[in-house]
Symmetry: C2
Subunit: 421 residues, 2 copies
């Protein structure tokens, strides 16, 4: 543990020094550097793909699941896409320097609250090497030095990517320590999580287990991302066509991500009208269904709906699987969401203004939707142009996090000799 | 510990229920309630003063220091002031409902980010019973249910105050559980600090030891407040009159608070001009001085400047005591602040635009000041009308925290059947 603390302290101190240079760069400086980084990633394609082949082979030998192997894979096309994402970042506005608030006080002091970088940001994530490049780019654009801890299954790929990024930074006259990779065992991660004062912010990104561990063990401030047990509630006043389209899209468009719907609630008064079609279409799309007794009564012939347990309603399936319940009214739907929701995204389908108004006011979640698919809670969809994760906590950032969420502010106060009387 | 966890769980669940009512109140509802609470505090003056007398007697018997006894004291005048602070809160704008950002997406979805309450907020503070009422009022206005843990030395006073507040809430048709007092030993505090998911935010307010303990032991998100090792740097291009006035004010106006200056840095080229007057006036105001060798050479006859140790430069005296160093240039001043500052408030005195620009850009602190006393970093001075503390962390809030800093946001998305393609 002592060695790990020394390693992290050294990394963090070098990151701090680099961060001081990053904080003073102009937007033009940073955008030029991002384009240079993109070119460097392109130029390193062969090295990266070869390194990735090593990781993939180790993964296959270790019995890694197909889905994880897919996320780990970086072929030439994916490397090109990762480089293009850096170019896209160059096109986004600089979050730094924005004056958030400001005024002139009665005594003539001019005060303004200005967006500045966090400083040193750590990221802990799984074996998804595209995140390595994304995080490096987001860090550079937001003026933060990044300490990256990717899943060890992607170690070779991450090393190749970070080597390419660091040489490009040096060649561009910028500090290589703007992007550093933290290697080592769990002690290294533990040292990062407890490097309070050295690291300004830690962002875990991955499954519920990883996030829970980081949140519990860290003394560094953390932004929790990503667990989404999202509901679609079909209200008594729902348009049945919209309900059908939204439920299908929310569940099946991309079931493996956090903004996919996991649970369907239907008002009892429309259950007989809505459920048969919805259940048939979900089953037709390959969705495994778990329903309460009332739901199962409305299953059309040939559609299997397993009995739902309380655990089903708490489960983020991240797969073609869904829990379904019939509720007595809007109050029961709100109570169900309070009990089982994870505060990510909750949608109502209704044509009733009063029901929509109650839903948006009373549901406590990062995003509350009316007549829209849960899949829209996304930095790209919201027009942010980049996303480092979706925060499900209330402190600092809530919902899709992009460049401004990677900044803090400082108060700049300019006077002419003012003292307090 | 099991009992403490059960107690805190019960408190937090009742707070959650209350918070749902608070979140839906209009500004008019809340302001009327704040005025009713103020009247209730006034009406309870005799009870509160009597309870406070018990606390004071226990304090005196236990050998409590004079300064702490003063902070603990609530006489009739102070009770009236505390009630008036609630009336002032009624005059402030409602932070909730503000649309922070919003747009209509290409697909017609209308998105807006709206300010909403945190939900359940815990406060851990020392034996200062005025904080009990302030926190209750700030919580009500910002729509948050508060769990208050005041120093045990103020237990009787806090009980009397919270009883008055809770009866007034009930009489006003609001849930009494909007304000709850957490009693019990350290296990109770530990249970509060680890009530993740039940408590949305924890704010420690007090000395460095208390804050450090809360920050280290909590799994609930925390906002760190208050340690201020603040510097005044007198630049080569300083106006000597402004320098003298600002240093004196920053050190002596109210030495016991976090925005008081603790350390003075003087550019070598003006040390001979500036230091003799400054040191004489500081000493004349009763300030104990600790200086480096160069500083001591400029001490006028009869002014004692003790040799400063490295520890002196790290010390937040919170008293009439100051460390003083001569620095070679602006870079050396910046390096000194990086090494010894606590990220609270850092002031430069200069008439040189370039030096001022470098100071405000390069110093990493909640507030960076030019030609003004450090004492201005304050919610009241900034025009916020209320302050729950001064954050020295970068996540969520930095600098003086008022009503908006006690809120989070949610994204409200309104559509007409949109699905993702």
């Amino acid at each position: 543990m002592t060695d790990s603390i020394a390693t992290v302290t050294d990394l963090a101190e070098r990151a701090r020094v680099a961060s001081r240079t990053l904080a003073l760069l102009t937007r033009a400086d940073k955008d030029a550097a991002l384009l240079a980084l993109a070119d460097a990633v392109d130029a390193a394609t062969d090295d990266v793909v070869a390194a990735n082949a090593e990781d993939l082979q180790r993964g296959r030998e270790g019995g890694m699941a197909t889905g994880l192997l897919d996320r780990l894979t970086l072929d030439a096309d994916r490397v090109a896409a990762v480089a293009d994402a850096l170019r896209d970042l160059a096109g986004l506005p600089d979050p730094l320097g924005e004056v958030v608030r400001g005024s002139t006080l009665a005594n003539g002091l001019q005060i303004r609250q200005v967006r500045v970088p966090m400083g040193v940001v750590g990221m802990i994530y799984e074996a998804r090497p595209n995140v390595t490049v994304d995080a490096a780019g987001l860090g550079l654009k937001s003026g933060n030095a990044m300490i990256l801890r990717g899943g060890s299954a992607a170690a070779s790929t991450n090393r190749a990517l970070v080597a390419a990024l660091r040489s490009a930074l040096t060649a561009h006259g910028l500090p290589a320590d703007a992007v550093q990779l933290l290697e080592g065992d769990h002690d290294a991660v533990k040292a990062l999580m407890t490097a309070r004062g050295l690291v300004d912010l830690l962002i875990p990104r991955g499954g519920a287990g990883l996030i829970q561990a980081v949140v519990t063990e860290s003394t560094v401030p953390v932004i929790e991302t990503g667990v989404g047990n999202c509901h679609v509630y079909v209200d008594a006043a729902a348009d049945p066509d919209k309900a059908l389209a939204i439920v299908l899209n929310a569940k099946t468009h991309r079931p493996s991500v956090c903004n996919a719907a996991e649970s369907l609630l239907v008002h009892r008064s429309v259950a007989a009208d809505v459920l048969p079609d919805v259940l048939r279409d979900l089953a037709g799309a390959g969705v495994v269904l778990h329903g309460d007794d009332a739901t199962r009564e409305h299953a059309p012939d040939g559609v299997v709906v397993e009995p739902a347990t309380d655990e089903d309603f708490d489960t983020e399936y991240l797969a073609l699987e869904m829990s379904v319940a019939v509720v007595d009214d809007l109050d029961a739907a709100l109570a169900h969401v309070r009990r089982h929701g994870s505060g990510h995204t909750e949608a109502i389908v209704t044509e009733d203004r009063a029901a929509a108004r109650r839903w948006t006011a009373e549901v406590d979640a990062a995003a509350v939707l009316v007549n829209a698919s849960t899949r829209f809670t996304d930095g790209g969809e919201f027009g942010f142009g980049a996303e480092i994760g979706i925060s499900t906590q209330k402190l600092h950032a809530r919902g899709p996090m992009a460049l401004p969420e990677l900044t803090t502010t400082k108060w700049v106060v300019e006077g002419d000799g003012q003292i307090r009387g």
